[in-house]
Symmetry: D2
């Protein structure tokens, strides 16, 4: 998860690397599916590494979908799809912050999903830790994020 139009280059780079690593671990990538920002970068990374990508789109058709999405889920329910996005994930990586991304992190914590914040600002990390410290994780880089994810998935088995 991460910003669309307003994503900064560092967030997209992290998302691309996470996409590659998710595919490398034979995990399935789930994103909001649009052709901008963190979503597009993560899908591109996973596609290039031979992974399977699912995009949960807000729109009622394929316009605006990332060309790197293999399985587009066309919801037609706008931003309400953020809820489906997080429920369909076993855990969430967050690269960067926007109102939309923050809503997904909150919905994820509410639904008892673990969230791994990648290179967050300290005050961002503290905010989500204040909502649910047990399920908010902080990673200094994408390598650490993948390591935390692998450990969490092992426990969920």
């Amino acid at each position: 998860m991460g910003p669309g139009e307003g994503a900064i280059p560092g967030d997209c780079r992290n998302a691309y690397e996470l996409g590659r690593a998710i595919a490398g671990n034979a995990w399935v990538l789930v994103t909001g599916g649009r052709d901008v920002g963190v979503m597009d970068a993560a899908n591109r990374g996973a596609r290039e590494a031979g992974g399977l990508t699912v995009g949960v789109l807000p729109s009622s058709d394929l316009a605006g979908a990332s060309s790197f999405v293999d399985i587009p889920i066309v919801t037609g329910i706008g931003e309400a799809r953020n809820y489906i996005n997080v429920l369909s994930c076993q855990l969430i990586f967050a690269c960067g912050l926007s109102a939309g991304t923050a809503s997904e992190i909150c919905l994820a914590l509410k639904a008892h999903r673990h969230v791994i914040l990648v290179e967050p600002r300290p005050e961002t990390a503290r905010f989500f830790e204040s909502l649910d410290s047990a399920r908010t994780h902080v990673a200094a880089d994408t390598g650490q994020a993948i390591q935390i994810a692998a450990e969490l998935l092992k426990k969920q088995e």
Copy 2:
């Protein structure tokens, strides 16, 4: 699409055969994802034939999901997921009839999706034809259903 708990054996047999044929054509199967009736049978058919299966679940967790679903989309929005189900399909096969199935066919026609009714009762076919005759198709068996689908997909390309 088709009934869950109330499915009759003939509908499940058709769904199983369609699942196999969908996989055989390298198409992706999308269903409501539950472990009963037409949904479960179609997923079993597709899985056995080596296909990829997506299940758009009404529930907020994996309880009740078909074990033959590869990609569970956990919506948590109950029967409102019928809308997502049909929007995410390029075309719809309907095996059997129930209130839920009929709602999906109606939403599909409303969203301008083609619907192929497999072995429908004549009055059922007439009803949906009265809503949208151009997008309602009738197949005498699963073989004809797949043939109609292939022709429709060719035109959509």
Copy 3:
């Protein structure tokens, strides 16, 4: 419930009369809230008779809302709002038929709501009776529709 853009004059007349009678009985009117067809006519009738009107809109803002809606519910979830529409009603009146209206009737029956079809064509009535004969009711005119509704609500108390 009833068609929007494609509504015929007779359906709108019935909807207007039902709106007036719903308000006259001090019931609350719930519709899809748009400014066309059966929705707009029902809201106009209820407003003129001093009733309270709720409109469950598909859009993410007030554009296209009927000016006779007192309480607009802005869902932003498109046609998936049909589900909310029927769940929020104690019973449903249907004036006319379209794919969207038929989806609402089906979702209503699936959710165990009673549906009163006002002046339906015989084959339409038979179709919905085949889905759930116990909850499908046929009214020859709006007067009979209101009478059936009053009896059903009495039993629900």
Copy 4:
């Protein structure tokens, strides 16, 4: 908006006072509609002051609805209803914080709604200001919150 089960007494007291003031201004109160915490308190306040109350429920029936809700909207879409909740409001008051409440504030800012945080902790205010400083407002008490709301509504006219 505010916490349900985990609400603290101060948040409920603020919500009750806001409910009274909302009714006193002849505004319509919209909440998540459940019979706990901030939702229940706000509805009780508005009801006691003779106001009209709308509750956008997550459930598919009326179980768990506040008895102070006049117009229950039964969505059946779980936490995805948070989106409908904020879209249906002209502006949002937030009393207290939880993951669910934070998701609503984020969705509100994303949908360009103004949010008035009532007696927030400084770091909470700073977090939402970092997402959208122009639409995040801080009120020291309920009186100031109502004053800010009145000014914002005047500008929206």
